[in-house]
């Protein structure tokens, strides 16, 4: 029992690992690196699983450019811009974090406070942006039909650009009500919200409008674009359609493979949760700086340790950005 008894002199020593510093790094910093390494392997496991599925469905995976095309307050097709902004915000908050660490080394409390605050604000902007990105993805852009074997077929105009259902579908049927457990069958649940049109409306509007074409999920690997079907093929596809799909969730995805939506929600969600907890930790440290905890302690190493975590979150985003949006 004696070994665990904390004597007056050794309080600091026991907490910091007995005063020994392997690799000349403090106990806390070393443990942060241990955590970061294990977390890095967790994230690489997720991303590699995504890679596995993408290789498996190489010729039918959704094309990211066509999925994430929204910019706030502007209508139109803008791939990449918004996510580039998000990346920039996260890198910038990393810079303010490292500036806080730098100011901490020089014991400049005022500067540490300002830079920590900027870091927190950057993190909040990023989190808000991600929520907005999720909202767009969940609500959907164009709408599509799903065939009985789970394939997705999307609608295009004469030039092969994707068009929304609302651009050509004429509403004739009465509004169907969303099926809930109390009104519908208790053992059946609808996959997501009620689509704005019925399948019959979509098919009849398609037949009535010769300018509208149908696009398969299959990618023409020569030009890396989704294949556009002939009218005859399109009719065969529509004969097998079972549902109108609007937006994406864990069960259906108007942009293509549902797996894409699953991985998107899971990986960006897990990363977003890291950002969220990073912000919380940053706020705690921020107030500790204000009340002078580290000034009294004589060093700002705690800021450095949360800094490591924050930079790690940025590091993960660099890879998520590459594998979800670029490659």
């Amino acid at each position: 029992m004696e070994a665990t008894v904390v004597t007056e002199n050794s309080t600091e020593e026991v907490w910091s690992g007995g005063g020994k510093k392997p690799f000349a790094a403090s106990y806390g910093k070393m443990m942060m690196w241990f955590f970061i390494m294990s977390d890095a392997l967790t994230f690489s496991g997720f991303l590699v699983a995504y890679g596995l599925m993408r290789f498996k469905f190489l010729e039918s995976w959704p094309i990211a450019d066509e999925v994430f095309t929204h910019v706030p307050f502007v209508h139109g097709h803008f791939p990449m811009y918004y996510v580039a902004f998000m990346t920039f915000i996260l890198i910038f908050s990393s810079v303010t974090m490292v500036l806080a660490v730098d100011a901490g080394h020089q014991m400049k409390k005022g500067k540490v406070i300002i830079y920590m605050l900027l870091t927190i604000v950057g993190g909040l902007i990023f989190l808000g942006s991600q929520a907005w990105e999720w909202k767009n993805f969940i609500n959907g852009t164009y709408g599509a039909v799903m065939l009985q074997d789970g394939k997705i077929a999307q609608f295009v105009d004469k030039d092969g650009h994707q068009i929304a259902l609302s651009d050509f579908v004429i509403k004739t049927d009465h509004d169907r009500v969303q099926q809930t457990r109390s009104t519908g069958l208790w053992f059946v649940e609808e996959a997501g919200t009620l689509p704005p049109y019925t399948l019959a409306e979509v098919v009849s509007s398609f037949n009535a409008n010769p300018d509208v074409g149908l696009r398969s999920e299959e990618i023409d690997l020569e030009i890396k674009k989704k294949k556009i079907l002939s009218r005859e093929e399109a009719n065969k596809y529509l004969a097998r359609a079972t549902d109108v799909v609007m937006g994406a969730n864990l069960k259906v995805n108007e942009y293509g493979k549902t797996l894409f939506a699953d991985f998107f929600f899971f990986i960006t969600g897990f990363h977003g949760f890291h950002v969220f907890s990073g912000i919380l930790i940053n706020i705690i440290i921020f107030f500790n700086v204000i009340i002078g905890t580290y000034e009294k302690r004589g060093h700002y190493e705690m800021v450095e340790k949360v800094g490591l975590y924050w930079h790690f979150v940025d590091l993960v985003w660099v890879f998520v950005f590459t594998f979800f949006y670029l490659v």
Binding site: M37, G51, F57, P79, M80, D314, L315
Partner: protein
């Protein structure tokens, strides 16, 4: 402390690294929007040139973040290697195995996926 002697400010270096990382991101985004056919539709070692460029730029960015923001550059060489070599090795190992497997599954599965409906 690794920084015991380094009390002078590194602000200049930090902003330089920031400029560098932003520049890489801008290049990535421009390439991602334009997708030049000469890079996008050509093949090199299993994927397109464009994808190789993205992967390499990503690794360069990761280097910038870990070395300068996470101060790996200032840590002892032994600590840096214990962290980087271990992680990089394990990730490469996992990636190689799973992507080979994914490719195999694709080759087996692809012949059975129908894109033409008879009726």
């Amino acid at each position: 402390m690794a920084h015991a002697e380094a009390h002078e400010s590194h602000t200049g270096l930090i902003w330089k690294v920031f400029g560098f990382l932003s520049l890489i991101t801008v290049v990535e985004v421009i390439l991602g929007i334009i997708k030049p056919a000469s890079l996008h539709l050509t093949h090199f070692l299993g994927t397109s040139f464009l994808n190789w460029i993205f992967l390499i730029l990503t690794l360069v960015k990761a280097y910038g973040i870990t070395w300068y923001f996470m101060h790996l550059k200032q840590e002892k060489t032994s600590l840096r290697r214990a962290i980087v070599w271990t992680t990089v090795f394990l990730i490469c190992y996992l990636t190689t195995l799973l992507l080979i497997e994914g490719n195999y599954i694709h080759d087996r599965l692809f012949p059975y996926v129908s894109w033409n409906y008879v009726k």
